[in-house]
Amino acid sequence: MGLPVNHPFASGVPSAILLLFSLLFTPAQAEPAPFRTSILPILTKAGCNSGGCHGAATGQGGFKLSLFGYDPDEDFLRITRERAGRRVDYDRPEESLFLQKPARQLDHEGGRRLPRDSDDYQVVLAWIASGAPHGPEDLHVSGIDVAPNDILLPDPPDTVSLRVTARLSDGSHQDVTRLALYTSNDEAIADVSRNGAITSRGRGLTSIMVRYAGQVAAARIAIPYATSTTSADFTIRNFIDTRIRTELARLGLDPSPLSADPDFLRRLTLDLTGRLPTPAEARAWADEPGSPERRAGLIGNLIARPEFVDYWTLQLADLLLLGGKGSDDPASRQYHAWLRDQVDRNTPMDQLVRDLLTAEGDTKTVGPANFFTLSNDPRDLSEHVGRMFLGTRIACARCHAHPNDRWTQEDYHQFAAYFARVGRDGDRIQVRQRGEVDHPKSGFPVTPKPLGAPRPSHASPIPTSLSLRSEAKVGEGGSAIAEPGEGPPLRSEAKVGEGGSAIAEPGEGSSLHSEAKVGEFDRRAEVAAWLTSPDNPLFARSLVNRVWKHFFGRGLVEPVDDLRPTNPATHPALLDALAHDFAGHRFDLRHLIRTIATSHTYQLASTTTPSNRLDDRLFSHAYLRELPAQVFLDAIVQATGVPHRFEGQPDDIRAVQLVGPQVPSAALEVLGRCDRVGPCVPSGQGGGLAKALHLVNGSTLHDKLNAGIVAHLHDSNAPIPEILEELYLRTLTRPPSDEESAAWESLLARAPDRREAIQDLFWALLNSREFGFNH
């Protein structure tokens, strides 16, 4: 929108006042301060445009500003023009409402925000005196830098001051330390003052979020637990260990020792395949020490198993909210079968995501087309895509600039525009010739643009679903943005057609002409190529972060769908290295999993040392993780030898193999299965008291204690030590200790009813902490 570069009143300002202010201020400020880069930040700092004040959707006291200044031009007009310009008085600037209110010379519900003796008051006063100019129309802050941005505070309490520099679009720099906003991500570890002075409060790792003029940055703060550590036994197996050890040493934490062999077997089998080791596997594993080579061999064996495919299909299905809503059963089954096939064939993750994002056709026959049943609204779809594949929450920017991230409303709607032409006709997902996303303010359609990146220059021709089907190489779309030297040639071998040809429908290939036309207006291939490019900093990071969380119970960034500059990773270098390695290995999920599982870090014991007992984010020891609902139920089935029946499903199906929540299961619900309606949190909708009641009284356990191994052990009249060993191996993957044997042997021996005694002991094992947690 056209705004005057200089306010028309500027020429009418008495020169005496200008002179006065040029005397008052340093030469740098003699130039009238531009509104956007000098005045607006003062309002933001003073809290004027916060959600509780004038930034509220309805404004406050008849005066409305955009939330945190996301719309500077609108704010400028409201301040200088609204209500016939009565907010500013050019002749008597100090009598401007715009100053008298926040200085509390007039009654102001928001209190004194801009004291008269403050520098900020003087800057605003001078601005009004010089005619309240907008300043150069396109001048804006293009970025901010925080120094220092990686801080080690040796011993609490200690203080360090941040310095924030703004980069302006005209190439100049400004020290904005005083006007930036600071928030500690964990005040129990470090506090930050209004002026950017950080004070240590506890020990550990956190960061300070810095915001200025719509730009964001963060500084990392580490306050060590101790000054010296011993990590003598910590062997470097790969680059993960190097970076973890560096941080442990910096923070003064001793790593726990390597996990014991039975613990490792159990943890690894659960994490890779979602099931418990069998007693036979446990016995075979116990035959010789689990040397690094033997452990690596076990990792390779487990990754090659069909159970691995089942379990990682479940992980991806949870991520994709497969079958959560809007999909009927045959379509969901098709989607699930397609997904399982991709995991089985180890389809590179970038290709898998491209196939999803460009899919179309009948949802009952074309599995990936079901992705678009998530929503009919392009904006909802863009939010799903952002969360799932970029690990970023853009929803805030639907209505206003994201307060803690760099996304603007413009960015949001331009990204959503990629999905404006996906339509649904009954069971079919199809691309329509028309469909736009309108800018919420202008009402005009916006041009699609990737999030936080310029539109790819190869916009025409863009890869289309047609080119996918004709076995074109992905490189067509990808290479235009892929940087050379990013490791091995990432794309040249991965044919998109692999997935595409499988979903081509009979008869479709013949209508080449109409398909070519489809390509012209389908925007999705462009966004899919951009999204999965090795250059996209978020795609690989968000995926490796999710996989990391699977193995450690905590992401390098938490929450895993909130990657943003103001929420830095605990180990930024490690996150980058993992992402680079993942992209460099063609987004090979198995490679990533193998890399993580092989690391010494993953293989640490869960028991703590006095030094690392309080650590919950530096991976000094393995963190306890409750077994997920499906895994827990399958583990009960496996341990008891009694299958769990699911309505309408084959008798021997395991819970992890189910398509999704549309297979009803009271047991899985109470245990906390992800309902896939929204992002899943570990403890789902079940858990808690309902789960405890179910385990104490419910049929799931009770029915399985009346048959299977209990009946077998009872009927076979096995000697008590044998019974104990069998039950312990089946549940805890280890034989009972001497102490445990002593405790239970006498109990079983004296029991009036041997069968009941076995049931009770088994019940206790299945309810024990050691069984319920992956440790």
Binding site: G52, V670, V677, R750, S768
Partner: protein, 451 residues
């Protein structure tokens, strides 16, 4: 670390039990159940000094009817019959017991009860997503990614003393609300203060009785074995996760051991006329269960009614036009009015705060599909009982229902008011898992017009 919010680890070093009889197991079971014993928990709570009830606080318990998805204010409690047709509700409006106050025609029983109900017509905020809006309403805090705040129910569970074996905080059917499963949960408080999710059918809450063939004694015996099993295992250390888990078993056993508590769930004991009055809907059954639970000692019961995200066909969907007298508005009218009346007849209304609200209102302009989209700038809340003066209307929106023009009420105001009505001082501090003291609410002021 030992703090009131994070009970100390369970006493270690149980005596060796070689040759211990079942009798001894039972004994062990009572002395050292999982986690902290009840007595210990009560003692701890007593030591920390619960606040004397806020002066004049009348409410001892709260029932929240949560209209999940965002109920349209314009088609329920903030009708604008004079607005143009693209704004006006497709429904007519009717008079209420309060002269001059009119509400939607599909809420006739509620209209007759408005003397008991205070209506706020100016709830306003700016979070238009289900997840963030729900969090804002149910925690009283604008959501931030760095800290999960506890829901009102969890705060009440943490601070209202109860000697009842019933769970203090119950969610019917469960606490997964607002497209965000954490909004109604315990946030930074231990998970032990999260809701008991009764499950899909409020008239038949599962797993309250031991399974067939397992006596109560045997249940207790198993419990003692489990305690011993955990104490013998070296593989899993004590920590917040294990303590939460132990606390849930503790609660489960309290419930199982109490016939009175289990009785509270037995809706079959209600006369058919009462069940009929609440209506056959899940919402009606849920409200009836909520009343029984409050009577028996629960402190905060949420009854969640889904399906209020009416982007389409309000005229058809809110009252089900295919089955006259059914649908969302008629079943709400029946259940809500039954609950308020029933509490009044039993003399419980004065002690029970009944809330009716959702995460936001809906767009004043009907959309092309005959629905309304999200609109956080204007919404309503109804409060009854618990010391609230009925028959009052607080705040008003402009002529199109776009935003408050009178007495705007923010989610923190609402949260602060609810807590204070329940005798909880919102400026009181709780402790996060890492030992950081947190004021329950950072903002919000009591809505004085209510009392």
């Amino acid at each position: 670390m030992t703090s009131p919010d994070h009970p100390p680890s369970r006493p270690g070093g149980l005596p060796r039990c070689d040759g211990v009889s079942r009798r001894d197991f039972l004994h062990l079971g009572t002395l050292a159940p999982l986690g902290l014993s009840l007595a210990g928990l009560l003692r701890l709570r007593a030591q920390t000094g619960l606040p004397p009830a806020t002066k004049g606080a009348a409410a001892e318990a709260c029932i929240l009817i949560w209209l999940d998805g965002g109920p349209s204010h314009l088609d329920t409690f903030d009708v604008k019959p004079d607005a143009p047709s693209e704004v006006r509700s497709p429904f007519k409006d009717i008079p209420t017991a309060i002269p001059g106050l009119r509400i939607c025609e599909h809420l006739p029983r509620t209209a007759a009860l408005m003397r008991e109900i205070a209506l706020i017509r100016s709830v306003t905020h700016e979070l238009g997503n289900h997840d963030t809006g729900t969090r804002f309403l149910l925690t009283g805090h604008r959501p931030t990614p760095s800290l999960e705040y506890p829901s009102l129910g969890s705060i009440v569970a943490r601070l209202r003393r109860s000697d009842s074996p019933l769970p203090p905080y119950v969610a019917i059917p469960n606490d997964g609300v607002g497209g965000d499963s954490n909004a109604a949960r315990s946030g930074y408080l231990p998970a032990a203060y999260s809701a008991f999710n009764v499950g899909k059918d409020p008239s038949s809450v599962p797993d309250l009785q031991p399974p067939p063939g397992v006596s109560f004694d045997r249940t207790e015996h198993r419990r003692a074995m489990l305690a011993r099993m955990d104490s013998l295992s070296r593989a899993v250390e004590e920590g917040p996760a294990t303590r939460d888990r132990d606390a849930f078993y503790e609660q489960a056993y309290r419930l199982i051991a109490s016939p009175e508590a289990k009785n509270a769930f037995a809706l079959a004991q209600e006369p058919p006329s009462v069940r009929e009055r609440y209506g056959p809907s899940r919402l009606g059954t849920g409200c009836l269960l909520a009343r029984r639970l409050i009577e028996a000692g629960s402190k905060f019961v949420s009854v969640i009614d889904t399906g209020w995200d009416t982007h389409q066909q309000i005229a058809r969907e809110l009252p089900d036009s295919r089955f006259p007298g059914s649908g969302k508005l008629p079943s709400l009218d029946r259940a809500y009015s039954a609950l308020v009346e029933d509490l009044r007849h039993r003399g419980l209304l004065g002690k029970t705060l009944v809330l009716l609200m959702g995460e936001f209102g809906r767009t004043p302009k009907l959309n092309a599909a005959g629905g309304r989209d999200h609109w956080p700038r204007a919404g309503f809340a109804c409060l009854a009982g618990g010391g609230v003066q009925g028959g009052r209307v607080i705040g008003a929106t402009n002529s199109f229902g776009e935003f408050p023009v009178e007495r705007p009420v923010t989610p923190p105001d609402l949260a602060s008011t609810i807590l204070q009505l329940l005798g909880i001082d919102p400026s009181r501090e709780l402790v996060t898992p890492d030992g950081r003291p947190m004021k329950i609410l950072a903002d919000g002021a009591f809505i004085h017009e209510l009392t």
